[in-house]
């Protein structure tokens, strides 16, 4: 663990990323404490520019709502969507990939055709259709994001499992009489963790972007203040109130950036072989 941290912290970008993400997480957690009122509350006159009133340092939006409160609550939604949809995608992708890779043969064939099928449909278009069909809500958004983002997980896991499966320690486990389920859970999957974690960190980033894109198209959950919603809503007033899309835009950018940096750092730290390259 200490070793891991040492390798991780050698990557300066990764540390910066972690710091940014930590700030976002703290903001998300503290949002209800700092802004006890709902972010939807109309607190001042509309289109109050930033730094105009001390109380509302980032200004107000078209309905006079506090942009700062929106950003804080938006962090909650973005992180929630990012994390939950990634976990969901992992829950779909890992078993499929593991089964395909471990059992091979027709199971592999069938599962991979199934995966391929999902990769053939343009993913953003599919996400749009899914959300529109099940009507925009936090659940349908998370489900849609998970559904379009699991195939890479399945492929990754399958690839890893395929190579692990013929490792000698797996064969040893087979010989020692362990059952397939135990072998997958105990011998195989734990050794795929590193690449999965790296991929997952990037998926969280992608999911946040996806949610914001959906929101931008008007397919967000109307009861959730998310960053994408804020930009989408600000689009029509971008000319008179640049700050309405600017701040959430920067928030998304930073969060996604942070997750990417973290992903790279994890990659370096978890795959020492690769870490030697680069810097």
């Amino acid at each position: 663990m200490k070793d891991f941290w040492k390798r991780y912290s050698r990557n300066r970008g990764a540390v910066i990323g972690l710091v940014i993400l930590a700030i976002v997480v703290v903001v998300a957690i503290l949002a209800p404490l700092v802004f006890p009122q709902s972010p939807w509350r109309m607190v001042q006159r509309p289109f109050l520019p930033p730094l105009f009133m001390d109380q509302y340092p980032l200004g107000t939006d078209a309905l006079g709502r506090d942009v700062m409160a929106g950003l804080a609550y938006g962090a909650q939604v973005s992180l929630l969507v990012g994390l939950v949809s990634t976990v969901a995608a992992l829950l779909i992708g890992i078993p499929i990939g593991a089964l395909a890779g471990y059992f091979g043969g027709w199971a592999d064939d069938a599962l991979m055709r199934f995966t391929e099928f999902f990769q053939t449909v343009p993913s953003f278009a599919l996400a749009i259709v899914l959300v529109a069909i099940f009507q925009p809500s936090i659940y349908s958004i998370i489900a849609a994001i998970a559904i379009v983002s699991w195939p890479p997980v399945a492929r990754l896991v399958r690839g890893e499992v395929l190579s692990l499966r013929s490792r000698e320690y797996v064969e040893a486990a087979i010989l020692s009489g362990q059952k397939s389920g135990t072998i997958i859970m105990r011998q195989v999957l734990p050794n795929t963790i590193s690449p999965i974690i790296v991929l997952a960190s990037l998926m969280v980033a992608t999911a946040i972007l996806l949610e914001s894109s959906l929101s931008f198209l008007g397919l967000g959950d109307p009861n959730m203040m998310s960053w994408g919603y804020m930009i989408g809503a600000a689009r029509t007033v971008i000319r008179q109130a640049w700050w309405l899309s600017f701040f959430p835009g920067v928030a998304i950018l930073l969060t996604v950036l942070a997750l990417n940096l973290i992903g790279e750092g994890l990659n370096d730290a978890l795959n020492p072989r690769l870490a030697r390259k680069g810097k």
């Binding site: 055709r113 391929e116 099928f117 990769q119 053939t120 449909v121 343009p122 993913s123 953003f124 278009a125 749009i128 259709v129 899914l130 529109a132 069909i133 099940f134 009507q135 980033a205 972007l209 914001s212 894109s213 931008f216 198209l217 994408g228 930009i231 689009r235 971008i238 000319r239 899309s245 835009g249 998304i252 950018l253 930073l254 996604v256 950036l257 990417n260 940096l261 690769l274 390259k277 680069g278 810097k279």
Partner: protein, 322 residues
């Protein structure tokens, strides 16, 4: 080779039909139907009006019958009739497809060339400030929401600077002919293609950089150095070609996805492509159009995958000969 292509086509047909069936059920699961939408927009409508529409569209038949009719048509290469636009779906799509292809292919080419060039440059200067700069830029491109970048681009280049048109495919009514028209389209293309390309540029840059670094660790590179080859030649002939293999794979996957993935760009830039067509058809429950767009874009994905595979065979002798 021919056999390979035929096999792949056969597989593609099966996938396409599966996609159509899935989507068919998916979109019929959505609340509302095209008749309801059209009635809603008609300014006044009663049950007779809606019932007439449903009958006209064949929506009064059982779902499976509708599916059968639809698939029957598709097998004869008939994508059906748009309820709303009252014209054959195929016409509608093929009217729009060129615009999408021009946009996405331009974006793709920009992304791929600039991305790989940047990746190669960065990998050659690994650890130096220019590498840090390129990598950071790529990360920024990667992390910027596409639509946001698009909004900002329109704001700056079209509104404030007035250098480039901010929307549309060509200057409507300008009646340009020949070269002038191409120039006009090219001008309209710059903003949407660049913003759409940014993200992918970042992806290719990072991939190329990583791949170059990985390949440069391989044994044959050491062999090449031991021959006394100049670094430039090693980079080009040995590292680059090998490093491009994974990039080509990724590019193939994405080129196809681009076709259906340009919804946002087409919306912000009012680009008359099939992404927008899809989005509108979805809101209007214009089932056949939606299915048609999915059909065509999935077909594109498969086509690009096939092209990549053929290309791959061309680049990689292990696959070509073995």
């Amino acid at each position: 080779m021919l056999r390979f292509i035929l096999m792949r086509l056969g597989k593609a047909v099966i996938i396409l039909i599966a996609i159509l069936i899935l989507n068919f059920f998916l979109i019929h699961a959505a609340p509302g139907d095209p008749a309801a939408v059209m009635a809603g927009e008609a300014g006044a409508a009663d049950e007779k009006f809606i019932a007439d529409l449903r009958e006209q569209f064949g929506l009064d038949k059982p779902l499976l019958t509708q599916l059968g009719i639809y698939l029957g048509g598709v097998l004869q290469l008939d994508l059906g009739f748009s309820y709303r636009q009252q014209m054959p779906v195929a016409d509608l799509i093929f009217d729009r497809l060129p615009a999408t292809l021009i946009l996405t292919l331009t974006a793709f080419v920009i992304a791929l060339t600039l991305g790989t060039i940047a990746g190669v440059l960065a990998s050659a200067r690994v650890g130096k400030w220019s590498d840090t700069f390129i990598s950071t830029l790529a990360l920024l491109f990667y992390a910027t929401p596409l639509y946001w970048a698009a909004l900002m681009a329109v704001l700056v280049f079209s509104v404030y600077l007035n250098w480039l048109p901010g929307f549309g495919y060509e200057t409507v009514g300008a009646d340009h002919e020949g070269f002038a028209r191409l120039l006009d389209i090219a001008k309209h293309l710059i903003l949407p293609a660049t913003t759409l390309g940014l993200f992918f540029m970042a992806v290719y840059m990072r991939m190329t950089r990583a791949s170059m670094l990985e390949v440069s660790q391989l044994d044959f590179v050491k062999t090449a150095r031991a021959k006394g080859l100049k670094p430039g030649i090693i980079q080009r002939r040995h590292i680059f070609r090998n490093a491009m293999l994974p990039v080509v794979t990724l590019a193939g996957l994405q080129a196809g996805q681009l076709v259906g993935g340009a919804v946002l760009t087409e919306t912000v830039f009012a680009w008359p492509g099939i992404g927008r067509l899809m989005f509108e058809a979805l809101a209007q429950r214009d089932y056949n159009v939606l299915l048609g767009v999915f059909f065509v874009s999935a077909a594109m994905v498969l086509l690009f995958n096939l092209i990549t595979d053929i290309l791959y065979r061309f680049v990689d002798p292990r696959i070509r000969v073995g």
